[in-house]
């Protein structure tokens, strides 16, 4: 096969006429040279996505980047450089590569099938110039020697042909089989990935300790699915987060690094089904109803009891605060549109509080050793009725007036000025964030990848080689035996095969040479 591939000449000019041109273009596309160039293009096209921030992983940094580079940012965005792996030009490269691959592999498979059914070609007339050549004499008749050779070779799984005065044998067809399997498996891998992208979905959700989640679209904080997914038909499981455990390194240079986090949950696999207790850890997702639930993050939700001017409680729950750094300096807001008057509270939660002149209030350790909240209270129009969707983690203070600032330790209460209400820092809860994913393409992808690996190993480790025996009677009445071989892959050593053949011939020999 290699021979036909390597025999290509430099491309001639395209012929006239559409048919001729198409045939010419196809031959170009499926040539090894073009495959090589496309492989390079694929490598080069992958690079920008590792240098520029990508929308898929870090949309916030993408926005920053565009803002900081007013000339290049919008231009690069237009050409998909912040979504490289979904960009049309990236798809063009790999689709062309795979078209080329199919166009290359199909004809090769046919050739290979034919080769599998044919017998090795006749031995060359003279063996003495060939690799591993050896000459010896044998007291058996020429026919007996050839018989012994072909029997022995067949027994060692060579494919053997016998002719007048010669035996030819070939081995190592698995090399080409493996190579074809490898390339076909790559196509299967691509199809599996595409299948997973079309039928898979994933979503993210934050669950406070003591509360639950059920798998419907409205419960997700963020959700994305393939084009062929029906978001109304998600698997109907549910779970509650009963307890969240976390530990941090206290000494050594990596102080503050997480050492353990795990979520104890109660799972309801389907409505009405028996519930079961489970633990979700990093690296140990929960598998339920075809979906996988991964623990991806965690944080604190300080319990802020907010009362309004009438003394009514407008919030008594833990509020999800998002961590801003490795020591869990966290921010969050409470919105109380029903309070009289409407209240909004911005807060900073510090598990281990410290204040300094440069950084202001911040946390120095991720565990709640010395917790405090720093609050800023606002009143006025929260902007919730404007119709513009708002983040629940941000307070739009454009139409609000600030009431004041205060810091609280656990158990303390802040009476807002002018009797507008109060805020009590009543306790600390935790929350965990989960990614829930369903990818029906991942098993086929894994199988394809393993097949590709298997094919690759055959293709690289099996050696394709031929050996020959030629016999002629000598003047003394003995038989002169010539053996030699040919290695069809340029990298390897033929000696073991010729030695094997010589062993076959010497084994059954009555008189030594």
């Amino acid at each position: 096969m290699t021979q036909t591939m390597t025999g290509e000449k430099a491309a001639p000019l395209p012929p006239m006429g559409t048919g001729g041109f198409l045939r010419w273009a196809w031959r170009q596309l499926t040539s090894m040279r073009v495959a090589l160039i496309l492989l390079f293009l694929l490598a080069i096209a992958s690079i920008p996505g590792s240098v520029l921030p990508q929308n898929g992983t870090d949309p916030v940094r993408v926005d920053d980047w565009i803002e900081n580079n007013p000339t290049w940012g919008p231009l690069l965005e237009r050409f998909g450089f912040f979504d490289v792996y979904a960009a049309p030009w990236f798809a063009a490269v790999y689709l062309l590569l795979f078209v080329s691959l199919i166009g290359c592999v199909l004809p090769r498979s046919l050739t290979h099938l034919r080769a599998l059914r044919s017998v090795p070609p006749a031995a060359p007339r003279r063996l003495d110039r060939l690799a591993g050549f050896q000459s010896m004499t044998d007291s058996r008749s020429p026919d007996e020697v050839l018989e012994a050779a072909s029997e022995g070779l067949r027994g060692r799984r060579w494919r053997v042909a016998r002719g007048d005065g010669w035996v030819a044998a070939e081995k190592g067809y698995l090399r080409e089989t493996g190579n074809l399997l490898f390339h076909v498996a790559l196509v299967a891998l691509l199809i599996s990935v595409a299948y997973g992208a079309l039928f898979g979905w994933r979503g993210n959700v934050i669950v406070r300790q003591g509360t639950g989640f059920s798998d419907t679209l409205t419960q997700y904080d963020a959700w994305g699915g393939g084009r062929l997914v029906n978001p109304d038909n998600l698997p109907p499981f549910a779970f509650t987060l009963d307890e969240f455990l976390v530990e941090f390194e206290r000494d050594s240079s990596q102080r503050g690094a997480p050492r353990l986090f795990e979520a104890n949950v109660t799972v309801y696999p389907s409505p009405g089904a028996e519930s079961e207790a489970q633990t979700i850890r990093v690296n140990e997702p929960l598998v339920v109803d075809g979906a996988k639930v991964f623990l991806v993050g965690h944080g604190y939700s300080p319990v802020l009891i907010v009362r309004d001017a009438l003394g009514r409680v407008v919030n008594d729950q833990g509020v999800v605060f998002l961590p801003q750094d490795g020591n869990f300096t966290s921010t969050g807001v409470v919105k109380a549109p029903d309070a009289r008057p409407a209240l909004g509270i911005q807060g900073l939660f510090l598990p281990t509080a410290a204040v300094d002149e440069i950084r202001g209030p911040h946390s120095t350790f991720p565990a709640p050793d010395d917790p405090a909240v720093f609050l800023s209270a606002w009143t006025g129009d929260l902007g919730l009725d404007s119709g513009v969707p708002q983040s629940i983690y941000r307070l739009d203070t454009a139409n609000m007036t600030q009431l004041g600032l205060e810091s609280l330790r656990q158990g303390q209460t802040w009476d807002l000025p002018e009797g507008i209400g109060s805020v009590e820092f009543a306790g600390i809860e935790r929350w965990a964030s989960f990614q829930i994913a369903h990818d029906p393409g991942k098993e086929p992808a894994l199988i394809s990848a393993m097949l590709a690996l298997g094919g690759l190993m055959l293709s690289l480790f099996v050696r394709r080689r031929r050996v020959w025996v030629r016999v002629s009677p000598s003047e003394t009445g003995d038989t002169v035996v010539h053996v030699a071989g040919l290695m069809r892959s340029d990298d390897a050593d033929l000696q073991p095969d010729v030695t094997e053949l010589v062993d076959i011939l010497t084994e059954g020999r009555p008189v030594s040479r």
Binding site: T2, M5, T6, G7, M32, R33, L36, L39, F40, L42, A43, S46, I47, G49, S50, Q54, G56, T57, R61, Y85, F133, Q134, S135, V193, R202, E249, S252, S253, Q254, A257, P258, R259, L260, F261, R281, V282, N283, P285, K292, F294, V296, Q435, I436, A437, D439, K442, A445, L446, A449, M450, A452, L453, M457, L460, D490, D491, D493, Q495, V498, T499
Partner: protein, 321 residues
């Protein structure tokens, strides 16, 4: 033995290994530069007479010497000393790595310092395994040189106190994935050294000036084949490393492939080496051009290792720095 003593012993073993490697480097340098008798310069490759290869098959055995006269004695002895010292250094380094693992109570690859130690071990191991099958004393100088570079960076720039792993790294897949990747890194390093020597030798052969040190190398064809064989071994292993990484990522992050910079560069490295294998089967690309491609593959491997760990914001940034 207390934990800190273990750590000190580990560091001492690493320094000892470096010291022995420096001596090996000197020995290989002497061997390389030794000017001895050089008859029949064109076919010089300091191969030993392998017993049993004589007889009618000798001319087809690629390992057989062209003539015993070309082997120059002093160079050979220095080369042997270099090999022995390299074995010793590898053993000592292995002790250092194992002690570090015992100290940290986990596999010793939690940060870049430890990666560099294990990668150095990988380079030496691949070199020594190759040396069991053929005479590669001519390769000692570059291989020991680059290992020393890697260890030197490890103990100076990358050194980190051992610590436990962050939870995301606690997985059996880490052990499998990283050990495959480390062996690959070692093998690709060795093949790259051979490829560089190949380019040097090839240039000399084409200009017909095979004199001096370049004459000590095996001929270009053989260097090319040896580099190919090592890559042919490492490429499937790299494929496996990428697959096992994907399995691990699926378990840890909920997706098997996310185009994270580390994954992207692993992919680029894979594609470039696939390009190398194709180039070897394409007219007009085999030989030197294929060699350049394999060097590009190594460059992307190094970008993945240093560039992504230190400069890029990646899920895989566990350098510990």
């Amino acid at each position: 033995m207390s934990a800190t003593t273990l750590a000190q012993w580990s560091n001492m073993a690493v320094y000892a290994a470096m010291f022995i490697l420096i001596m090996a480097l000197v020995a290989f340098a002497v061997s390389f530069a030794a000017r001895g008798r050089r008859a029949g310069v064109t076919a010089t490759s300091p191969q030993p007479v392998s017993v049993g290869a004589a007889g009618p098959m000798a001319k087809d055995n690629p390992e057989a010497p062209a003539s015993a006269a070309v082997i120059d004695e002093s160079g050979r002895r220095a080369g042997n000393i270099g090999m022995s010292l390299t074995w010793l250094a590898t053993g000592v380094l292995l002790v250092g790595v194992v002690l570090r693992g015992i100290w940290a109570e986990r596999v010793p690859w939690g940060n870049m310092y430890e990666f560099s130690l294990t990668m150095s071990l990988g380079i030496l191991a691949v070199f020594l395994i190759v040396s069991l099958q053929r005479d590669v004393r001519w390769l000692g100088l570059p291989v020991v040189g680059i290992t020393l570079l890697s260890l030197g960076l490890a103990v100076t720039v990358l050194y980190t106190e051992a610590a436990q792993l962050v939870p995301a790294l606690k997985s059996w897949w880490l052990v499998i994935h990283v050990s495959a990747a480390v062996i690959c890194a070692g093998a690709f390093t060795v093949s790259t050294m051979i490829t560089l020597l190949y380019l040097w030798r090839d240039r000399a052969e084409r200009r017909d000036v095979v004199r001096g040190m370049v004459a000590k190398l095996p001929d270009a064809q053989r260097l090319d084949t040896l580099a190919y064989r090592i890559i042919a071994f490492a490429f499937p292993l790299w494929t496996f490393a990428v697959i096992s990484g994907a399995i691990w990522a699926e378990n840890a992050w909920g997706r098997y492939w996310g185009w994270d910079p580390k994954e992207t560069w692993a992919f680029i490295t894979w594609v470039v080496y696939a390009g190398y294998l194709h180039a070897r089967a394409t007219a007009g690309w085999r030989g030197r051009r294929a060699a350049y491609i394999s060097i590009l593959g190594y460059v992307s491997l190094m970008i993945n290792y240093f560039g992504v760990n230190l400069f890029v914001n990646s899920l895989h940034s566990y350098s510990g720095m």
